[in-house]
């Protein structure tokens, strides 16, 4: 019920994911469902993998063949609506999420992984924390969660 509580439906979420066969490498998932005038994801992508076009209200479309999952779009999105996801093995998935809060997680910590409704779903292992100057204060957190949550996990919270 995106318009009523900010939570997109499963159908909407799935429409943004590629076929699972693409996810052996990290891919960008652009959860931008509305027509709003905005295109930095497209202009920031060094591989030309995100298409918006002349009408900047067009929701972005990712070319999963070109997308390398570098994460530049993740910290360029003003709506923090993009993350990357990768299937590691039979058990786990790796996410790269934007993070603009304090305290920052530390590598090796385990935080609470939540779904789009803010509910706890799984423990999330912090694999990498990146906050370089070019990211302009939006940190990139690499998180490992069980693979079965790839369509549900969205962000981390320190203690619920």
């Amino acid at each position: 019920m995106l318009n009523i509580n900010g939570v997109p439906s499963k159908t909407l979420i799935l429409s943004r994911f590629p076929d699972e066969k693409y996810l052996n490498k990290p891919k960008a998932i652009t959860e931008c469902y509305e027509r709003i005038p905005c295109n930095p994801c497209s202009t920031s992508c060094p591989f030309g993998a995100i298409h918006i076009g002349e009408d900047i209200n067009t929701p972005p479309v990712v070319d999963f063949d070109k997308c390398t999952g570098c994460g530049i779009c993740v910290y360029s999105c003003p709506g923090l609506a993009i993350f990357t996801v990768e299937l590691l093995d039979e058990l786990n998935a790796r996410f790269k999420i934007p993070y603009e809060l304090r305290p920052l997680p530390k590598v090796g910590e385990t935080w609470d992984g939540v779904n789009r409704a803010g509910e706890f779903i799984t423990k999330a292992y912090i694999e990498k924390v990146s906050l370089k100057e070019k990211q302009d204060r939006t940190a990139l957190i690499q998180v490992i969660v069980p693979k079965k949550y790839i369509y549900e996990f969205i962000t981390i919270r320190s203690k619920l």
Binding site: E100, L101, R102, P103, R137
Partner: protein, 104 residues
Amino acid sequence: MRIKEHPILTFGEKEKLSFFFDGKEVYGYEGDTIASALHALGIKILSYSIKLKRPRGLYCAIGNCSSCNMIVDGKPNVRSCVTMLVEGMNVKTQVNKGDINEKN
């Protein structure tokens, strides 16, 4: 109630300024408005309404609403939200319309 750690902003070391609030010596920082300095000290009541003496505080913080009127250095009806804090200022809660002849 000052923010210590912020993900986007850096609040650097600023010069401490002493001033008086209703006769008591208190402190704010360079760059504060009177209202923000008082707010950081937990002081939210800045004036009382004229007829019903209802407590009033900060509302717009940009000089439009006049909810934050205080008596500053003897002068009434000063919008404390857009007046920069100066060392030694004498700030009082305003309880009435303000009298320009009022003694400090």
